[in-house]
């Protein structure tokens, strides 16, 4: 019996290790379990059984309200934002072939932060209320993410190609510039905008409502579906420029599409949850430890792990210092930066 299963649907085809399928199933169950536990934790503690009842509207009125209206949206948003950032990071690490790449390091998140804060600053009036609907905010952050992705891409274009190292360096530089612009917007806007923008930049899913969740879900699912058509091309990208060209891949064109997908996923995630840092870096690495580097399995596993990371970070953020809320992004950065250092350290022993 073969160790692999071939999954094929039209042009989307990839190998999946049988072990990976078990891991994927296990992680899915673990995510669901975490969601249920997390739904029960908070000022009003609810047992897992009651949580499940409340999800289907069969609990007490109070439980129904807390679970369905307050906790469910933010927890789902945490999971989907984490998944989006993780997939975005997995793609970037594939095309840049550098284990240290992620949407925050190459400036995609910084671009989205700038446009979003600019949106908050420009469309607030003196009494600190927005003059346009808040529903436009995700569009602003999406434009920022994608524009930044392409700006970095085009600026690193030289002699008919993109060198991954150049892309990373230019991303780092532009990201620093974007942070300066973001701070300027905060300085120029009213203090209320500044503090709100500050929470958003650091990344928080506090105060999420269903509209936001229902906007982000199709977004992430749609992009993921497209991504699966590109999984095998991503595998080819990882071979490196020369080998990939020899294998017949349209390297530059694929890189372009993949970068777009990566920016769009990060933009969708950042739109509502803000710049939750280091998830796009950590999740793909953990996933690679579990299922190896074939993207057919790596992408869904990264997504699940990314979702769990943000879910747990948010759980800590809202309970550790209750009633104070701390942005979840502070916790992901606190775990992520040491992890990044560990990655640098490990590269010594290879």
């Amino acid at each position: 019996m073969s160790r692999h299963v071939v999954i094929r649907a039209g042009k989307a085809s990839f190998l999946m290790n049988k072990k990976s399928i078990w891991i994927l199933t296990g992680l899915t169950l673990l995510t669901v379990a975490l969601i249920i536990v997390s739904l029960g934790i908070g000022q009003l503690a609810i047992s897992p059984v009651n949580v499940v009842q409340a999800v289907f509207g069969a609990g007490t009125d109070m439980e129904n309200l807390v679970v369905r209206s307050f906790r469910m949206p933010r927890i789902l948003l945490a999971v989907f934002a984490g998944a989006g950032l993780a997939m975005s990071g997995a793609i970037l690490q594939g095309i840049i072939r550098n284990p240290l790449a992620s949407p925050d390091i190459i400036g995609i998140t910084a671009g989205a932060s700038f446009t979003t804060v600019a949106f908050l600053a420009l469309f607030s009036d003196r009494s600190n209320t927005l003059t346009v609907s808040i529903h436009w905010m995700p569009l602003a952050s999406f434009i920022g993410a994608v524009a930044m992705g392409f700006l970095v891409y085009f600026l690193s274009w030289k002699r008919g190609g993109i060198a991954p190292v150049r892309l990373v360096l230019i991303g780092v530089g532009l990201s620093a510039a974007m942070q300066a612009m973001t701070t300027m917007m905060m300085v120029l806007g009213p203090i209320f905008t500044a503090s709100r923008a500050n929470v958003w930049i650091t990344g928080s899913v506090n105060g999420t409502n269903w509209t936001e969740v229902l906007t982000v879900i199709p977004w992430i699912f749609g992009l993921t579906a497209i991504l699966f058509f590109y999984a095998r091309r991503l595998n080819v990208q990882e071979l490196g420029e020369d080998l990939a060209v020899n294998a017949g891949a349209l390297v530059q064109k694929d890189r372009f599409v993949l970068l777009f997908l990566s920016s769009a996923l990060a933009g969708g995630a950042v739109a509502f949850a803000g710049g939750i840092g280091f998830v796009g870096l950590m999740a793909p690495h953990i996933a690679r430890q579990l299922v190896g580097s074939s993207f057919g399995a790596l992408i869904p596993v990264s997504a699940l792990i990314g979702g769990m990371i943000v879910l747990v970070a948010d759980l800590i953020a809202r309970t550790a210092f209750a009633p104070l809320e701390i942005p979840a992004g502070v916790f992901t950065a606190a775990i992520g930066a040491p992890y990044f250092i560990y990655l640098l350290y490990r590269s010594r022993n290879k």
């Binding site: 510039a177 503090s195 500050n198 930066a337």
Partner: protein
């Protein structure tokens, strides 16, 4: 470009003149009209008029601070680029400014620090800590210290520090109000005492840097050759790092994190006088002071009567430059 010693000395003198001219411009130009005569009067015949108060309490400190901070950041960048052989090295990209800012915000928010001395030492601690972490991380791995790894480690550490800074600020809105403009990097509204408090460290750093030129030149030939020529490379690197921490730390303590000066200026200085660090360092100091003075003057006019933080101005000038350097190529 400027190759002979007399020309180089002449260039320094011209630069000094130009810098003094910019200091004058920085005092005279702005929202309030001020004439040179008033400036002289305010020093010798102070009469408590509005203009005189503005000159003494706002314009003069501001001009001096801009010159001092610009010079220190540029020299810090020149030394970092020399030590790491990385054309993109600078206090802002390598997270040193972010580390210093984090410690200062921590001090303000949790310990209610207000003393200038504490401010300075917090900034030094943060700068030193970030420098050590980034350098250690950048030199991990089989292939040792590579420019790319160093840059990435710097970016990650900068991200960590700024995320923690933001974390503190979300909990403490009062502190946010207080430090927001400082965090953007600005030389406006700083008191002269702040400059005087850090001046010993700042001047110490600059003097050390000026005397390091010869050692830096030897180090540029490569570590092995430098050791072969009898240089204690470790000592040179440690001194260099200490100078960077002093210069970057004091700059952040006064003006907040101002980016990109440390990248741009050393490149311009090398373009002017070649790779001889005995000249690159003084030229960097002068050019850095000039750039920050000029950026600060133009920051007053863009959205008058409000002001753009000067850190934003330097980022706007610096980012295209950064992209240009990165495109031109960086050895892996």
């Amino acid at each position: 470009m400027i190759q002979t010693t007399p020309l180089r000395i002449g260039g320094l003198a011209a630069g000094l003149l130009l810098m003094l001219l910019l200091v004058w411009a920085s005092i005279v130009f702005g929202l309030t009209d001020i004439t040179t005569r008033m400036v002289v009067d305010s020093v010798y015949r102070f009469d408590s008029s509005n203009e005189h108060i503005i000159i003494r309490d706002a314009r003069i400190p501001r001009a001096l601070i801009a010159a001092a901070v610009g010079a220190s950041l540029a020299v810090a960048g020149a030394i970092m680029q020399g030590l790491t052989k990385n054309p993109l090295a600078s206090p802002s990209i390598f997270g040193i400014n972010a580390g210093a800012s984090f410690f200062v915000v921590l001090g303000i928010s949790f310990f209610g620090t207000a003393s200038l001395n504490a401010f300075t030492w917090l900034a030094f601690t943060g700068a030193a800590l970030a420098a050590v972490i980034v350098y250690t991380c950048g030199s991990m791995g089989r292939d040792g210290l590579t420019p790319v790894k160093l840059t990435l480690a710097g970016a990650a550490i900068a991200a960590l520090f700024s995320s923690m800074t933001q974390g503190i600020l979300t909990l403490d809105e009062r502190a946010l109000d207080q430090v927001l403009f400082w965090l953007a990097g600005s030389v406006q509204g700083r008191e002269l005492e702040l400059l005087i408090a850090v001046l010993p460290y700042l001047l110490g750093g600059l003097v050390f840097a000026l005397f390091m030129g010869k050692q830096m030149n030897v180090l540029q030939m490569g570590e092995d050759l430098a050791t072969g020529l009898g240089q204690k490379t470790i000592l040179v690197k440690l001194t260099g790092a200490a100078v960077v921490v002093l210069l970057a730390g004091s700059s952040v303590a006064i003006a907040g994190p101002i980016g990109f000066i440390g990248i741009i200026i050393p490149h311009i200085a090398r373009w002017l006088v070649g790779i001889d660090y005995r000249w690159v360092i003084p030229y960097s100091a002068l050019l850095g002071a000039m750039l920050l003075l000029a950026a600060d003057i133009s920051a007053r006019y863009i959205i008058m009567p409000a002001e753009v933080p000067v850190g934003v101005m330097t980022a706007a000038i610096g980012a295209p430059f950064f992209v240009w350097i990165a495109r031109r190529g960086i050895s892996e």
